[in-house]
């Protein structure tokens, strides 16, 4: 069996060796298709991975806040849980904001294996300098824990998160905000909340162009935020970082179910971006599959021509005693050999293109950056599989025709 297939493959190889130019064209077609598939998908997937990593790492993977997704049921409704209760003109019970019993929530969050949870308090203040007012959302954090939960440390243009602990009334704000107020590192600015007012010293600046941190948020010490906002010992946010970011949705759902507070995963937070990425992938894969498909047309042409040229040979082989399957195998093998050679050349081409792309620098946000590339072997396998599949189909169509050649028609025509 193996011997026979090897023998049939030999016949296919001999056919191809006699039509070098067409073979070359078909192989180049596949090679270019595979090469560009690799280059384009490396860039697309690379940039996507890079982008998603930024989405994941810019803020905690999960943020538990003191919000709830639906209003807390009123006591009357709670008492008659299964009854048909209608209440009129009741006075809504005012609940104090903040996560109640947050130590328990924090403990539960920390209990997730490998997770780090950072409690914080957010609130609004107004920064005032001269006659200039700017609204600012301050986040009170414990710098030591917060730095393990998000990578804001990396986003600092100047200063250090730890400086919040060493400088009385230290605050970290965005570069844009600082510019608007006309202040810089070490300058003092007045901060006013609903309950009190005090002066703060700028100890750090965020880099500009960061949509997540925004230009209107600032970091202070947790204690500082609690006293400034007049809410001692209260926190309203717990940021959580977990070892596998893709578990965030599950972990968030568990925390939310247990405590009732809204726990937002990074996926939920970035759903709009993620759906954009899906669209982008659909576009990419349609374009590159079109390239691979077109490449297989070359294979179709070669095999189809080969079948047309070899009608006499097909007739003689059939009369000698070759079966339809033998003939089909010969011509499909011709197409597959083209595809295989093309795939190998395409791998080399794709590798070369990636090397070139990888060596380029592009100025992004004022910094020279390498193009993020995904060089995983998976893409090589996908390109090969797609090409071989397309090649097999492209070869199979004319090969089927070859196997159906009626030797009598050819012999009768020739005699």
């Amino acid at each position: 069996m193996i011997g026979r297939l090897g023998f049939l493959t030999g016949i296919a190889l001999r056919h191809l060796s006699k039509r070098r130019r067409q073979t070359l064209v078909a192989v180049s077609g596949v090679a270019v298709g595979v090469g560009f598939f690799l280059a384009v998908s490396a860039m697309m997937i690379g940039s996507q991975t890079d982008f998603v990593r930024q989405l994941i790492d810019v803020a905690p993977h999960i943020i538990v806040s003191d919000e709830v997704r639906s209003p807390t049921p009123q006591p009357g409704t709670r008492v008659y849980a299964n009854g048909a209760v209608q209440l009129h003109g009741y006075k809504v019970r005012t609940e104090a904001r903040g996560i109640k019993d947050w130590q328990a929530v924090l403990a539960a969050a920390n209990a997730v294996p490998g997770a780090v949870a950072s409690p914080s308090l957010t609130g609004g203040v107004t920064l005032r300098l001269g006659g200039h007012d700017e609204a600012l959302a301050i986040v009170g954090v414990d710098p030591e824990i917060e730095s393990r939960v998000s990578d804001i440390e990396d986003k600092l243009r100047a200063g250090n998160l730890r400086d919040l602990e060493t400088v009385q009334g230290g605050i970290i704000i965005g570069e844009e905000m600082a510019q608007r107020l006309g202040i810089g590192m070490g300058d003092i600015v007045a901060a006013t909340s609903a309950s009190r007012s005090r002066s703060m010293r700028v100890v750090g600046l965020f880099k500009r162009g960061n949509s997540q941190l925004g230009s209107s948020s600032g970091y202070v010490l947790l204690r500082e935020a609690q006293s400034m906002l007049g809410r001692p010992f209260v926190i309203n946010r717990i940021g959580l970082r977990i070892p596998d970011p893709y578990q965030a949705e599950d972990v968030a759902a568990r925390l939310e179910q247990r405590f009732g507070y809204k726990a937002e995963s990074w996926q939920e937070r970035s759903a709009d971006f993620l759906s954009l990425l899906v669209t982008r992938n659909v576009i990419m894969y349609s374009v590159v599959s079109a390239i691979l498909l077109v490449a297989s047309f070359g294979i179709y042409t070669v095999v189809s021509n080969s079948v047309a040229d070899k009608r006499r040979d097909i007739a003689i082989l059939r009369s000698i005693g070759f079966s339809e399957g033998d003939l089909q195998f010969i011509f499909v093998t011709e197409g597959l050999m083209l595809a295989v050679i093309g795939v190998f050349c395409g791998w080399a081409l794709g590798y070369g293109l990636m090397e070139i792309l990888g060596s380029l620098n592009f100025p992004i946000a004022g910094e020279n950056q390498h193009v993020p590339l995904d060089r995983s072997p998976r893409q090589y396998a996908v390109a090969a599989a797609a090409s071989l599949f397309a090649g097999a189909i492209a070869a199979w169509l004319p090969a089927r025709k070859a196997s159906r050649v009626d030797p009598v028609d050819i012999l009768r025509g020739a005699v």
């Binding site: 011997g3 026979r4 023998f7 016949i11 001999r14 056919h15 060796s17 006699k18 006499r312 040979d313 007739a315 003689i316 082989l317 059939r318 009369s319 000698i320 005693g321 070759f322 079966s323 339809e324 399957g325 033998d326 030797p407 009598v408 012999l411 009768r412 020739a414 005699v415």
Partner: protein, 236 residues
């Protein structure tokens, strides 16, 4: 002598409007060791009858018995296997595969059957080429061989799997008289000395004269069968 191949009322009609009858009611017995020619004017159906006998084409009526077994209704693959193992073909246009050398052309049926190892297969192919006097040209591709040489390679290839039946379709059609005589002599030898059955379609009266059995065809019908071995003429 028992029949190797027997046609009983064999007929072939090409479907169409109107349908074309290629062969009608052919009765014929082919015996081992006999040299049979089928003769007749162009379009009389002699090639069509040969394709039926050689299991390349399927009859639309009648029976075909090979060694007593009905074979015309077998599947395509089964008939291909019979052709591979038991039949050898020699065609007018010699039909060698142009990409392959003389030796490789002879090797093709041997390798396809796969019953011999590579070394024995090459030995056998060389031996067959030697028989037709072309051993020293085994490495040449068909375009480097003369017409007579190609036809002798085709005969060697027909013998590749030691067939019981050799089928020729105008085997001397494209050859000069000298080459022609040589090919005919080869075919006669295969029948008389080696006990194979040889069936040839031909225009060449010289071949027809040398044959043991002459089948005359006209309009798709066997008109007369002349058997020189017994000397008796038998009507179909």
């Amino acid at each position: 002598m028992s029949a190797l191949l027997e046609a009983r009322g064999l007929g072939r009609v090409l479907p169409g409007d109107p349908p074309v009858t290629l062969v009608r009611e052919a009765n014929l017995v082919i015996e081992p060791g006999s040299f049979t020619t089928i003769v007749g004017p162009s379009g009389c159906g002699k090639s069509s009858l040969l394709y039926l006998l050689s299991l390349i084409d399927r009859p639309t009526s009648g029976e075909l018995l090979l060694e007593g077994r009905e074979v015309s209704r077998l599947s395509g693959d089964e008939r291909a296997q019979i052709r591979l193992m038991k039949f050898g073909f020699v065609f007018q246009f010699h039909f060698l595969l142009p990409e392959f050398t003389a030796l490789e052309n002879v090797l093709i049926p041997i390798r396809r059957l796969g019953s011999l190892g590579e070394v024995e297969a090459r030995e056998r192919a060389m031996h067959l080429l030697d028989r037709v006097g072309l051993a020293e040209k085994h490495g040449k591709t068909p375009d480097r061989l003369s017409g007579g040489e190609r036809q002798r390679v085709a005969i060697a290839r027909a013998l590749a799997n030691d067939p019981v039946l050799i089928l020729g379709d105008e085997p001397t059609g494209n050859l000069d008289s000298q080459n022609s005589a040589r090919v005919v002599e080869d075919l006669r030898h295969l029948a008389h000395e080696e006990g194979r059955a040889v069936v040839c379609v031909t225009h060449d009266p010289g071949i027809a004269e040398l044959a043991d059995v002459r089948v005359d065809m006209l309009d798709g019908r066997i008109e007369n069968i002349l058997d020189r071995r017994g000397g008796a003429a038998a009507a179909p």
